[in-house]
């Protein structure tokens, strides 16, 4: 295997080459401790506060794609072949402020200033990516940034004002005018550092591999069956920085083109395991518009930019928010490994708490989501203490088809947060099959949910509340799909005051 141990990325117009470095070092540690670029702050080191937000650029379809990312959850080698933009980059050495920064000053949007650079970077990504964002889009773009001082109003105002300010004297790509032309230089530079070889880094007892072909991956997986497979590092990062676990061998899947890409075969959608949650959800929102609200409530934008759908599924957390909807859609998991490819129903993939039907030499290659019938009644709901970036108390998804006699002939009910794994409620499904979708059936099904689950009590919710949510979310689904109640709001997001 033809490998390299040099990581290359672009920072402030320069190609930076890293050699002989600790591959488990986070971008945040590197920026603050090695480069002394201290504008990027550490607030939590777990991707929940956004003080370390930076923007990462990639060439996608010959355009520059810029995305906000938490630097605390990015391992240095994951930068390979990419463009890095930090808060210091925006001023490009000039005394004048970037329009995003100036708007923040004009709107009195900083108080203590510690979260501010992170907000600036999230706003910069928004500024570059969207023309006239509405309040929902602004909120979504700032969903991963916490501010304890301002109450957010002035920051939201800055998100509107930044578009009204003129471009500065820095490199043209920092601003909005003629973006395609302005980006040309950067695209060429990115082309020059495009990874051609696999990465193999061996540093002080830590091995880090980033294969570029499936064959290499298979070989590595056989050689190092206990290796940690790394996708977006939104969970593995916590093992390292919070649990302080040492991971001797890491195999990063980001350079595998075969795991990227979303394909529509007509009857189903294939989502490569390394497709980011942002990209996966963007296309799922097209295919399954009913899941839009759930998607918006999934983590934060920077986490969705970093995390992958494959990682969410493979990790198998009982509170992973993609799985209930994927279970409802009868998603299949495509595994690959030494024994070749195999498919299994997502439901069968989960054996127990953080236990999956996956051999040590296997990996998740893709998710196969069948397109549901046009008339399928579908919904996904999440309840958590906070709307933005929180972990579910309960996440639920429902899918239901009625035959010509208005009887239920297909039904899926799936929950997160109700058991040790994301799980369908088979008893409730059984109760409903063949029955009309009416109040009586609903109540029978609600009763059956209690037979299927004995949820835990923890810091997010008591067992009783979880059960009540599981039942009441099904009642909400009923009200939205069957009851004649379209004239009134059935959830908070239906209110005009909420979704302005």
């Amino acid at each position: 295997m033809n490998t390299s141990s040099t990581v290359r990325f672009i920072l402030d117009g320069q190609i930076v080459e890293l050699e002989d470095f600790d591959p488990t070092r986070s971008l945040l540690q590197y920026l603050r401790e090695d480069l002394h670029r201290c504008g990027t702050k550490e607030g939590c080191a777990e991707g929940d506060c956004g003080a370390c937000t930076v923007v990462i650029g990639e060439a996608v379809d010959n355009r520059l794609q810029l995305r906000s990312i938490n630097a605390c959850l990015l391992l240095l080698p994951m930068l390979h072949g990419k463009l890095l933009i930090t808060v210091e980059s925006l001023q490009a050495g000039l005394s004048e402020l970037h329009p995003v920064q100036q708007a923040m000053v004009d709107c009195h949007a900083s108080q203590c200033g510690f979260c501010t650079p992170g907000f600036v970077m999230s706003l910069f990504a928004l500024y570059k990516n969207q023309q006239h964002p509405d309040r929902d889009q602004i909120n979504d773009n700032l969903s991963g940034n916490l501010c304890r001082c301002t109450g957010y109003r002035p920051i939201i105002e800055a998100a509107e004002r930044m578009y009204q300010l003129p471009a500065g004297e820095g490199p043209a790509w920092l601003y909005r005018e003629q973006q395609a032309t302005a980006e040309q230089g950067l695209l060429e530079q990115l082309q020059r550092i495009k990874p051609e070889h696999s990465l193999a880094i061996d540093h002080a007892g830590t091995r880090f591999f980033a294969p570029t072909t499936i064959a290499e991956l298979a070989e590595l997986k056989q050689q190092y069956p206990e290796a940690t497979l790394l996708a977006g590092n939104t969970d593995v990062g916590l093992w390292m920085y919070k649990q302080l676990r040492q991971l001797p061998v890491i195999i990063y899947l980001g350079l595998l083109q075969a795991l990227h890409g979303i394909d529509d075969s007509g009857s189903e959608i294939r989502i490569g395991a390394m497709v980011s949650l942002s990209d996966a959800f963007a296309s799922m929102a097209d295919y399954f518009p009913a899941l839009g609200d759930l998607i918006r409530q999934f983590a934060s934008l920077p986490i969705r930019n970093a995390g992958t759908l494959g990682g969410n599924v493979a990790n198998g957390s009982p509170i992973g928010d993609s799985m209930p909807a994927l279970l409802t859609l009868d998603t299949r998991v495509l595994l690959n490994g030494a024994g070749g490819q195999r498919e299994l129903a997502l439901e069968d993939f989960y054996l127990g708490y953080q236990q999956q039907d996956m051999a040590t030499d296997e990996w998740v290659e893709a998710l196969l989501i069948p397109k549901p019938a046009d008339d399928m009644l579908l919904a996904g709901y999440k309840v958590s203490k906070r709307f933005d970036q929180d972990i579910s108390a309960v996440c639920a998804s429902f899918g239901l088809l009625l035959d010509s006699d208005q009887r239920i002939n297909h039904v899926r009910i799936a929950y997160g947060g109700m058991a040790a794994i994301p799980m369908r409620s088979h008893q409730a499904e059984q109760v409903l099959l063949g029955k009309p979708w009416d109040e009586q059936s609903l109540e029978l099904a609600c009763g059956a949910i209690a037979d299927d689950f004995t949820p835990l009590s923890d810091l997010r919710a008591s067992s009783a509340y979880r059960m009540q949510l599981a039942q009441n979310l099904m009642r909400r689904f009923y009200l939205e799909t069957a009851a004649d109640m379209q004239d009134q709001p059935l959830k908070l997001l239906d209110l005009a005051e909420v979704s302005a």
Binding site: T40, K41, E46, K491
Partner: protein, 771 residues
């Protein structure tokens, strides 16, 4: 006394950006962790207790010492002086000795070459414990008479009689949770040993002088050997008033023993596990009242969750006691407070300092009375407001002389269309079966000054350099509240120069001595006054010089717009400064200020503890989902009294920020401890402060036209803490929405925080009883 009320006189006032705003957005504003450290700097991590209460039988540090990069481990026995960092009572060990008192209590200091090495090694301690029965929960502590301080009681003579005589009476119980500060910048200290046993400390603290003192005591040094420097904090909110001390001490100890620069930056989880929070309260009350809603007598017992040590719980309890009245006249009251000692983090100062918890009680009680009476809670609130000339004495004896709550609430009631919206909400709720809306208007009256009289003093230094630039130093600390910006504005105004000429240097115990904590909202009141006085002295010297040199009448000399003018004569500021230097005039000055007319008797709990009161009111409209308990703030209208604001933009920021922070406390911010006393919500993944979507789409915030009747700085009013209480309106709007499921006739048993689970339980309670 009220002649100034209603006069919309604006003195000097300007909405300048925060003095550090450009640096904040550029990422160039330096916080402690951004200071370039010496090459030989070592890093500290702390080993926490794993048990809520246990005797330490043995400590084996061999694995720690064998861990890569580890240089030393220190325990309580290594402390040369006092093993204590308690701000008032000496019951706060720096390192646990003999017995641990909460999960997370630091036991050992691990020093290593890197931050990660220290953290990894800190997990390798082998400590043998004999586990003891912990005291957990307020009721358990109360039952066992486990208190950190003696109970306090403020009572009037006729209260029992009046309770018996009142036509109507109500009893009840409710709770309010604590709150994690979640300053974005965690606790951090960096210490460099200097010559002759001296230390230089950079630390994120609201109280540099106290840090200086505790470190001196710990190392048996004189205060003059310890310099504490503090440029800015990434948020404080009270969490760095006393509780920066432990981390400062741990760092200083390691630096001094090893004679090496040492940094300690707490990981977020450690920070949340180790440090104290806002005090949680449990209330029990009996209220006697008239059919029109007038409160005749109130008996209130408050159990306060102090945690394992006293810390600031005494003054917090005192402030709670002094705010039970909020904006209401309590003719007869009997208020008792118990600071319960439990085996949990030692709770501490947090924006409002007990005031919000005190005021919440009466708001809750009035809300409950109104529902029982079938009246709009706003009408019952108004019925009980303090009077102007009568009914104006607080339970602790101070007469309210600056009352503007009537006109302020009236203005807000009108501008927010409160009555029409209440009607519209009632209509909406009739049509809407799942989603219910609610509305509430709640007032705020908040006392300004430290209850402890001698804290109400401040000092400042103003240097004018020969080029006309000015350096100001004062005892207050900048934590984002805009204190330095206001002080710059005041000094620039006094000297008649552009704000760009004025720079504020880091707060530094070697410049201004014996400072008070930047707390109790008094930062600008005290320090800007001191700086103003210093600047005025310099101006007086320049005036004297000019009067003498140019033969001018001193009264005719005006300092404005970077120029000094007298009739036809015009001089540049720096021109006169040069002249003064040549003439050997002192171009720098100190300034000192103490708040006049304060008194407080700690035994009788009476006096005049407050220089003045700040007022405000808010209307919140919320929606709840009766299937899930989820809630949303739909619209908020805030009207707040900042007096004559020095900087209205900064004050608006404090009002909005305080409101949203208060809303978090009352809704989504839930602290959960498990049965063993371990805090389970110790990171932003599990502890949820408001995020951007929690800011209401319709958010109308205004400052009330007023000027302080007292001679405060520029007639402004303190604005740091009072707006937090505006968030009560969110909580009571939620309670209103819940009550609507039973046509507003049943009092929902809602405690704070009103999480989805809490709301849904209250909804179900009301549903079950409406039939």
């Amino acid at each position: 006394m009220n002649e100034a009320i209603g006069q919309p006189t604006r003195l000097f006032s300007s909405a300048l950006p925060h003095e550090s705003a450009r640096m904040h957005v550029a990422g160039s504003a330096l916080f402690v962790d951004d200071i370039t450290v010496a090459e030989n700097t070592l890093y500290v991590a702390l080993v926490p207790s794993e048990h809520a209460r246990a005797r330490i039988l043995s400590i084996d540090t061999s694995e720690i010492l064998a861990s890569p990069g580890v240089v030393a481990v220190f325990a309580a026995g290594d402390i040369p002086g006092a093993n204590d960092c308690g701000p008032i009572i000496h019951d706060d060990p720096i390192l646990a000795e003999g017995e641990v008192q909460y999960v997370g209590q630091p036991i050992l200091i691990v020093v290593a070459e890197t931050y990660m090495q220290a953290r990894i090694a800190a997990r390798m301690a082998n400590i043998e414990y004999e586990i003891l029965q912990p005291v957990l929960g307020l009721q358990q502590a109360y039952n066992q008479q486990s208190f950190v301080l003696p109970p306090m009681r403020l009572t009037s003579d006729g209260v029992s009689q009046q309770l018996a005589d009142s036509e109507l009476s109500q009893t009840g119980e409710f709770r309010i949770g604590g709150q994690e500060h979640f300053y974005l910048e965690g606790q951090i200290s960096y210490v460099q040993p200097k010559e002759d046993g001296c230390l230089h400390i950079w630390t994120s603290t609201q109280h540099p002088t106290e840090m200086q003192q505790v470190v001196a005591h710990m190392l048996e040094r004189d205060a003059n050997q310890v310099v504490v420097e503090m440029r800015r904090m990434g948020g404080g909110f009270g969490g760095k008033e006393s509780q920066s001390a432990l981390y400062c001490c741990a760092t200083a100890l390691a630096a001094d023993l090893l004679q090496c620069p040492v940094k300690c930056r707490l990981d977020r989880d450690d920070d949340m596990l180790m440090t104290g929070k806002r005090h949680h309260f449990a209330y029990r009350y009996q209220v006697g009242y008239a059919p029109d809603g007038l409160i005749q007598a109130l008996q209130l017992k408050m159990l306060v969750g102090a945690g394992f040590s006293a810390d600031l719980s005494g003054p917090v309890a005192t402030r709670a006691l002094c705010h039970v009245d909020n904006a209401y006249f309590l003719a007869q009251s009997d208020i008792s407070v118990y600071c319960c000692k439990t085996n949990t983090q030692s709770n501490t100062a947090f924006r409002g300092f007990g005031g919000p918890q005190g005021a919440f009680a009466t708001e809750y009680i009035i809300d409950s009375m109104a529902r029982e009476l079938g009246l709009d809670p706003l009408d019952v609130r108004k019925r009980n407001f303090y009077g102007r000339q009568q009914r104006n004495r607080t339970p602790y004896g101070q007469v309210v002389e600056d009352n503007v709550i009537h006109e302020l609430v009236e203005q807000l009631e009108t501008s927010s269309d409160y009555r029409q919206r209440r009607q519209a909400i009632a209509e909406f709720n009739k049509q809407s079966t799942v989603i219910k809306k609610g509305i509430a208007l709640t007032p705020v009256k908040f006392g300004i000054s430290f209850n402890v009289r001698h804290f109400n003093q401040a000092g400042a230094l103003v240097h004018v350099y020969t080029d006309g630039s000015v350096m100001v130093n004062h005892g207050g600390t900048e934590m984002g509240q805009g204190l330095h910006t206001k002080v710059v504005q005041v000094v620039a105004h006094e000297l008649g120069i552009a704000v760009e000429r004025v720079r504020i240097s880091a707060t530094d115990t070697s410049k201004v001595a014996n400072t008070s904590a930047t707390a109790a909202s008094t930062g600008a009141d005290l320090n800007a006054k001191a700086a103003q006085q210093a600047a005025q002295q310099i101006r007086q010297r320049l005036i004297a010089l000019m009067a003498d040199r140019f033969d001018l009448e001193p009264e005719r000399i005006v300092f404005a717009g970077d120029y000094i003018t007298a009739g036809e004569g015009v001089w540049r500021f720096d021109e006169i400064v040069q002249l003064a230097y040549q003439e050997r005039i002192q171009l720098w000055s100190d300034g000192f200020y103490k708040t006049p007319g304060l008194s407080w008797d700690m035994d009788s709990l009476t006096g005049n503890p407050f220089y003045y009161f700040a007022y405000g009111a808010a209307v919140s409209e919320v929606a709840i989902d009766t299937l899930t308990g989820e809630s949303r703030l739909l619209r908020a209208d805030l009207l707040h009294d900042a007096g004559n604001p020095i900087n209205p933009a900064i004050d608006l920021g404090q009002v909005e920020g305080g409101f949203i922070q208060g809303m978090g406390w009352l809704t989504s911010e839930e602290l959960v401890w498990n049965e063993a006393g371990r805090l389970m919500t110790h990171a932003p993944s599990t502890y949820k402060i408001p995020a951007v979507s929690d800011c209401p789409v319709d958010f109308r915030v205004e400052l009330f036209e007023n000027r302080n009747v007292k001679d405060s700085i520029m007639r402004s009013k303190a604005v740091g803490e009072p707006p937090l209480l505006l968030a009560f309106s969110v909580f009571f709007a939620i309670r209103d929405a819940i009550a609507s499921v039973a046509d507003g006739k049943i009092n929902p048993p809602l405690s704070a925080p009103a999480t989805g689970e809490e709301i849904l339980a209250a909804v179900d309670y009301c549903k079950e009883r409406r039939r």
